[in-house]
Amino acid sequence: MIDPRFCGNVDVLMSYLYEEGDNLERQAFAAHLAGCEACAGEVSAMRAVRGGLAAWAPPETVLDFRIVREPESRPGRFAWLAIPQMPAWAQFAAASLVVGVAVGISGLEVRYDQQGWTVGAGWSRQVSAPTEVAPLSGVQQASTAADAPWRAELAAFEQKLRSELRPADAAGTDPAVRQASLAGSKPPMGDREFMARVQELIDASETRQQREMAVRIAQVTRDFDTQRRTDLTRVVDGMGALEGRTGAAVAQQRELLNYLVRVSQKQP
C-alpha cells in the first residue's frame, strides 16, 4: 500500500538517501518505495548523481603549511647600534668619519725631529716661555711653519726682528755705522717689549685657531649628520628592495617546486 505522505517529501527522501535521521521513518520509506515507482525512480536517479560526484577529484598539489613563530625581538635602548644590519661600506664610512672627527677635535700632531718621533694632542702643546725662544735652523723653520699658520707668522716676525736687530748689533761695533743707523731707522726694541709683542702674537694666533677649530667642528658635525641621514635612507631603501626581491624569489621557487612535483607525478 502506497503511503501518499512520502511522495514528494524532500525531507524523508534526503534522510533515506543519506541514511540519516529517524530509523523508523526510513524503514517506512523503504517500504513505500516497494510500491511507488516514482519515488523509487527518484531515489535511483539521485544515487546515480551521487556516483557521478565521486568522480570529481581536486588536482594533486603540494600542501606544506606550517605555523612558525618568529622570535620576538624588542628594540633596545641602543638598537641603532645594531651594526650587523648595516652594509659593510656604510660601517667603513661611519668608522672613517668618526676617526676623522676625533683627529680634528684632538688636533693630533705627529712630528719627527732630533728627539725622534713625537705624537701629541693639540691641547698638550704648551706655549713656550719667552726665555725658551731659540733661533731655529732652516730645516726646523720649514717643518714648523708647515704645522700651523700661527707658527709661520711667528717665524716671519722673528726674522723681521732679527733683521732689525742685526744692523743695531753691527752699529754697536762700528761707531760710524751705528751713528748712521741711529739716524736712518727706528730705535731698537727692548727685551721686555719684544717678549710682550711675541706674547701678543701668540695670543692672537691662539684666538684665531680656536675660532677656526670651532667652525671646523660645527662643519664636521653638520656633515656627519647629513651623511648619517643619507646612509640611513639608503639602508632602508636597500632593505625594502631586498625584501621585495626575496618575496618574489620565494614565490618563483614555490611555483617551480609545484611544477616539478606535478611533472614528477606524471612520470609512469
Binding site: 518505495l33 536517479a45 548523481v49 588536482p59 605555523i67
Partner: protein
C-alpha cells in the same frame, strides 16, 4: 595514541604551535579540496587554504568549542571562498584540461585493477560534474560539497550555514536535481526509468 582535535586545540590555545601544525597536517587536504571545489582554481584554492589556517590560528583563543573544530574550519574556508568570489565578481571557474594526457591518466589510476578506459571514463565524468557544479548557486553548491565530500551531518551543515535543517535538505535536493538534469543532458548519467529499484 593519536590526539583528538579537541586535545590539539587545547594545547594550541596554551601556546603549543606544534599541536596546531598537527591540526594543519590533519585537515589541509580536506580544506584544500573544499576550497578547490568551491572556487575551481588550484592556486587560489591553495592560497585560501593557507589563509584559512592562518585565520583559525589567530582566532583560536576565541574558539570555545561550541562546534567541532573541523566545522569551524569549514566555515572559515567557505567565508574566504565567498569573499574571493565576491572580489573576483565572477562565477567559480573550473579548470578543465583540454584533451587527454596518457601519462596523466596513468598517474590518475586508482590502482592496478583500474583500466585506462575506466580512468578516462572517470575523469570525463569528473569534468562534467565540475562544469555542472559551477551552475549551482553558492548555497546549494556548498551544501552538496559539505555533505558529499566531507560527510557532515544535516545538523552540522545547518549550524555551519546558520539555517534550519529542512533548508539544508531542500538545498541538497534542489542541487542534486539540477546536477541530475545537467549530467543526463551531457549523457554521462543515464535517466533512470521510473520504477527502478533503490
Amino acid at each position: 595514541m593519536t590526539a583528538t582535535d579537541e586535545e590539539l586545540v587545547a594545547r594550541s590555545v596554551a601556546g603549543d604551535t606544534d599541536s596546531f601544525n598537527q591540526l594543519i597536517l590533519r585537515w589541509e587536504r580536506p580544506i584544500y579540496a573544499l576550497a578547490y571545489r568551491q572556487i575551481g582554481r588550484e592556486d587560489e584554492a591553495r592560497d585560501v587554504c593557507q589563509e584559512a589556517f592562518l585565520r583559525a590560528f589567530r582566532a583560536l583563543p576565541g574558539f570555545k568549542g561550541q562546534a567541532k573544530f573541523s566545522s569551524w574550519l569549514y566555515r572559515i574556508t567557505l567565508n574566504l571562498c565567498r569573499d574571493w568570489m565576491r572580489r573576483q565578481r565572477r562565477a567559480p571557474f573550473v579548470q578543465v584540461p583540454e584533451g587527454v594526457d596518457v601519462s596523466d591518466l596513468a598517474a590518475a589510476a586508482a590502482g592496478p585493477s583500474e583500466s585506462i578506459e575506466d580512468v578516462i571514463g572517470r575523469k570525463d565524468l569528473g569534468r562534467h560534474v565540475a562544469k555542472a557544479m559551477q551552475t549551482l548557486p553558492d548555497e546549494q553548491r556548498s551544501t552538496i560539497l559539505l555533505k558529499e565530500y566531507h560527510g557532515l551531518t544535516f545538523q552540522e551543515i545547518a549550524e555551519l550555514q546558520g539555517c534550519p535543517l529542512s533548508t539544508v535538505k531542500t538545498r541538497l535536493y534542489q542541487g542534486l536535481t539540477v546536477l541530475r538534469r545537467q549530467l543526463e543532458r551531457s549523457g554521462v548519467v543515464t535517466a533512470t526509468p521510473a520504477g527502478g529499484r533503490p
